[in-house]
Amino acid sequence: MKRKIFLAVFVLSQLFVLKAYSELASHNDKFKVNNGCSACHSGHGKKRTPMLRNTVPVLCYACHGANPEGALTLASQDVYFAMRKRYRHPVDETARRHKTGETLPEKSPADPRHVSCLDCHSPHISEKNDPTRGASGYTISGMKQMEAQKISDICYKCHAENPNKPFASPDTSLDFNPVNASYHPIERASKERSVSLVSGAAGAKIGCTDCHVPHGSDYEYMLRYNYRKEDGAESLSAYELCYSCHKRDSILADQSFRQHRRHIVFEGVSCKTCHNAHGSRNNSRLIEFNPAVVKPGKTGMMRYMKTGREVSCFLNCHSAEHTGVSVGKK
């Protein structure tokens, strides 16, 4: 009996030990990083770093990918290879500009932009299931957060209105603003419920990383799947990104919009020609025409109008004049 009690107590105590370890941040867990502090730090580290053995990102690649020196790949996230892809955050080129304790965004338009692993990750506190835990950010309204509450808040550090933001780069905080007529549900669950959505997606919120792979991707804009922005033949792979949430069968069966099949299949119109995937300030259904393709029509307008359940467009698209032509019910 005594033996059984002893065994029970022993097993329970071990469980507590395991639980204590499981609650540690990944980098502070000696079972994962068995060289402890020395894995990253040295009493006499690289100059102008917080005692780091090497500069970021090379330091990170030592575990998070096969680095040029051929170290073993220990972590599941092969960041090094993602960072070799065509579309990526330019960490390799610009991480050296990161300063410990800096506040993003930069203050002057003349300041060069940068991105470092440490802009999105807080290595002493990040966890496997929450790799950006502890990173700072801004709310959509521009309020600084010592610890960002969601991924998008981290992205807003650089992808909202910044003094040094390139002209072509969108201010995503405007796109996702819940006061907009429509938006992908980053900040707030969408008011609209498209019939094309896969089950479980309706009414849910999503994150930037549901569509983008911040480390790197073969697809433009670091998209998770292919999304062809130019007009052309429809296929599953052409709009793979959209179809990952919006069922292709439903879209092409005109369940959400009566003219979808005609536009996408017969006319070879890209989703991007009519939609802004982030959000639309003035129109429902993320309608925002791509000015590279769609031009004002004879009326001088380039507009989408909704009257009751009827929608109509005033525009010129590849010489196809839409003059208030009713394009179907909403």
Binding site: K47, T49, A62, G101
Partner: protein, 268 residues
């Protein structure tokens, strides 16, 4: 009568203890240092050593005519101005009053910054005054030497910083957000020890200590907080926690236990 005897006895015990101490300490130091790279004499095991000189202690210590930085210090000190970790953004808040390294750290840097000849002494062995012992590998430590630190200390742990209640309170206020490590005094008896410094933090000197009795100083972090230059058989002269090297990662060892002495827990 009894009282007088006991006083006499105490005096004898003290005298014996002092004699023993004086005989014992240099013995320990020599026994320790002789097998380390800090044995710079001809008999040293490292690559940096003298061509002829066989005295071991003389590279750092002299009984007479020493420098004023620390008693018995024999090596010519450096006059360099160092680039400090406080030049990094984020650090200045904690290190606004730090001055150039002082006391023990200056002694280490007198060789390790690479600007003073390793053999340049205030008092050469035997009669006479200052001079230079000739080394096999040239006068100075150079950038490729393992122990070379140089004059840019911006990637090193800050040294000669006063540690006081205010520094600990400021650091642990976690104003830089989550993830920064907390700070504490090393526990009593810990091999990691705070050492004398004249620098100040927040306008105040480091915590005042009087150990041993009659020897008062203000505490701070110096090279000698983590390294004991006489210690043999450990990695990098570290006083604590030199674990087994892991060749798959190219690290000299796990020194987390050393860091733990002052840094435990993370800002939430």
């Amino acid at each position: 009568m009894n009282r007088q005897v006991s006083r006499e006895r105490i005096m004898w015990i003290r005298a014996l203890a002092l004699t023993g101490f004086l005989l014992f300490v240099p013995g320990v130091c020599r026994a320790g240092i002789v097998t380390t790279k800090h044995n710079l004499s001809l008999t040293g095991p490292g690559s940096i050593k003298a061509t002829i000189e066989q005295e071991i202690c003389v590279f750092c210590h002299t009984p007479h005519g020493a420098t004023t930085e620390l008693p018995l210090w024999n090596h010519q000190l450096s006059t360099q101005v160092y680039t400090l970790p406080s030049t990094l953004a984020g650090w200045p808040k904690l290190l606004t009053t730090v001055q150039k390294p002082d006391k023990a750290s200056r002694l280490c840097l007198s060789c390790h910054d690479g600007t003073v000849a390793i053999g340049l002494l205030v008092n050469m062995p035997g009669p006479g005054s200052g001079g230079k012992i000739t080394m096999q590998t040239g006068d100075f430590m150079i950038a490729t030497d393992y122990g070379y630190i140089g004059t840019d200390l911006s990637g090193s742990h800050p040294v000669s910083i006063a540690v006081n209640d205010q520094l600990i309170a400021d650091k642990n206020a976690c104003t830089t957000g989550p993830g920064a490590y907390l700070l504490q005094y090393p526990p009593d008896g810990d091999p990691v020890k705070l050492k004398p410094t004249d620098n100040k933090y927040g306008g105040n000197p480091g915590r005042s200590v009087v150990t041993p009795p009659g020897f008062a100083y203000n505490e701070g972090v110096q090279c000698t907080s983590c390294h004991d230059p006489h210690l043999a058989g450990v990695v990098d002269f570290l006083v604590k926690g030199t674990g087994t090297a892991d060749p798959t990662k190219g690290h000299p060892g796990n020194v987390s236990a050393l860091c733990d002495s002052c840094h435990q827990g993370v800002c939430p």
